[in-house]
């Protein structure tokens, strides 16, 4: 019985190895679909994977409005202290004080593109962009303010 199991084991191992080799041989003989992007040459037509993460951005709509409520969840979620949310208090038309962001400061040079801030954000205010040509001559340029000047929070986002 032991011997039978032994032989079975060897044969099934060989079989699975052959399955793997058949797959790689298939790729080897079907040299059509190439995933290599020849980057500087095809800069115009470059196609990045959907999950590629280049930097954190905050999308704004055409009225210069964003969705950030200034809750600082992203700041707390970031493992590197990359994000700093500076809040201020707006006076609503009814005369009440309301918390809003003044600046959402983002230090690109500290970011590891881990996506945790995007997960943490309760109101989908930030997302990952696909840009990756980040080289600059001055390090200060890597410290960015994500909300646009004079931008407001969108109506209905609490």
């Amino acid at each position: 019985m032991y011997l039978v199991n032994y032989i079975k084991e060897v044969l099934s191992a060989l079989r699975s190895l052959l399955i793997g080799m058949r797959r790689t041989l298939f790729y080897f003989t079907h040299h059509k679909e190439i995933i290599t992007e020849q980057y500087p040459d095809n800069r115009a037509t470059l196609k990045l994977a959907d999950r590629f993460k280049g930097e954190v951005v905050m999308p704004h709509n055409e009225n210069n409005e964003h969705r950030c409520t200034g809750c600082t969840a992203c700041e707390l979620a970031c493992p590197n202290g990359t994000i700093k949310v500076i809040t201020k208090f707006d006076i609503t038309p009814e005369g009440k004080k309301k918390k809003a962001i003044d600046k959402l400061v983002y230090h690109l040079e500290l970011c590891t593109m881990c996506n945790l801030c995007v997960y943490a954000c309760p109101s989908d205010a930030i997302k990952m962009a696909q840009t990756f040509e980040h080289s600059v001559f001055d390090r200060n340029q890597l410290t960015k303010v994500l909300n646009f000047p004079d931008s407001k929070i969108m109506d209905g986002v609490e």
């Binding site: 060897v10 793997g20 080799m21 797959r23 790729y27 080897f28 190439i34």
Partner: protein
């Protein structure tokens, strides 16, 4: 028709007519040495290029495509880069051993080249114990790896070297036993005799199942012996940086690299000689017409064709399978390959005595 052996004998004739016997020997040794070294260089260039292209194609990539047509000169450019790099010796290293190790590795590969039959009647050193010689010398290669690992004074190097020691010592057994299967069938340790015994069909066709098993065991064992993935624990770049050659740079690193590829070539050449008939053209029993047509393809082409086929097989392994852990590696050898090849050699012996093979 021109053949390598004809050129060799012409050179020999010319030398004999021009110089005295002693000088002829000296000159011929020099020529052989230069030829072996240039074969090394060419093999290094071709095999590195081939590996990079094969790996790229298997992984749906393009591979090197910048230097020369389709990137074909990439490995030449890499060689130039390695030549101009500084070969450093770390401060805490054992200077002598550290610098000797890469040369030992390359010398072992050179020694292994001697008894190979590259073409019909063309062997550097036609000894009657070729197979024994090869298996004896190939076990010296572990010393160069141990030497490099120990002399580097680096934990990664030492661990890589120790793994490689355990690996080569154990896999040598099953490689030896599977080679033995052929020796039993031919009754000779001479490579040329073994090739001549395959004139009516290669052993892989004549030998039935036992030779198939021996061939598979041989392929697995030599992949392990040359430290290539899936058995590349000695280097295991994701665990040990680069294993035994972590501290090496420049040309000394290149020598290790070259030795690895030349070793691949040599074990594939031995495999081709033993199982696929070396330079022997594809013959089927007594179909003389067919055999005659096959004879028109030069014997050196047959030899290199088969060798490169096996090399491709080994590269294919490398890019298909994940690396084994050290305990899995030793399990595979001691629990599977060794018992299987021991039983197998009994089968082959029975087959040889009862004359069951063709």
């Amino acid at each position: 028709m021109w053949s390598i052996s004809k050129i060799a004998s012409l050179v020999h004739e010319w030398l004999s007519n021009t110089f005295s016997a002693t000088w002829v020997t000296v000159f011929e040794m020099v020529i052989a040495g230069v030829l072996v070294i240039s074969l090394f260089a060419v093999l290094g260039l071709i095999l590195v290029m081939m590996e990079r292209k094969v790996s790229a194609w298997i992984q749906i990539r393009l591979g090197p495509n910048r230097v020369g047509p389709k990137g074909m000169f990439q490995s030449a450019a890499d060689t130039v880069k390695l030549l101009v790099k500084e070969g450093m010796t770390p401060n805490g290293a054992d200077k002598l051993l550290f610098n000797v190790a890469p040369f030992l590795a390359i010398v072992v590969s050179m020694l292994l080249m001697a008894p190979l039959a590259f073409a019909k009647d063309f062997t550097l050193w036609d000894i009657n114990i070729g197979v024994l010689y090869v298996s004896a010398i190939s076990s010296v290669s572990v010393i160069s790896i141990l030497m490099a690992g120990w002399a580097s004074n680096n934990k990664y190097s030492l661990m890589g070297a120790m793994r490689s020691g355990a690996q080569i010592v154990s896999y040598e057994l099953s490689a030896g036993l599977s080679i033995m299967a052929i020796v039993v069938l031919t009754g000779s340790l001479n490579f040329n005799d073994i090739i001549l015994s395959q004139a009516d069909g290669w052993w892989i066709f004549k030998g039935h199942l036992p030779i198939w098993i021996a061939f598979i065991v041989f392929l697995i064992a030599v992949t392990a012996e040359t430290n290539r993935a899936p058995f590349d624990l000695a280097e295991a770049e994701s665990e040990l940086t680069a294993g035994f050659h972590t501290e090496y740079s420049g040309m000394k690193f290149a020598l290790f690299f070259l030795a690895e590829y030349v070793n691949v070539f040599i074990v594939c050449a031995i495999g081709a000689t033993l199982f696929l008939g070396g330079w022997m053209p594809f013959h089927i029993g007594h179909w003389d017409g067919f055999n005659h047509i096959m004879d028109f393809i030069p014997s050196s082409l047959w030899f290199f064709g088969k060798t490169f086929f096996l090399i491709f097989l080994i590269m294919w392994f490398r890019w298909s399978f994940p690396r084994l852990r050290i305990d899995q590696l030793l399990n595979l050898e001691w629990k599977y390959l060794l018992p299987i090849s021991m039983v197998n050699i009994l089968l082959v012996t029975a087959m040889a005595i009862l004359k069951w093979h063709f």
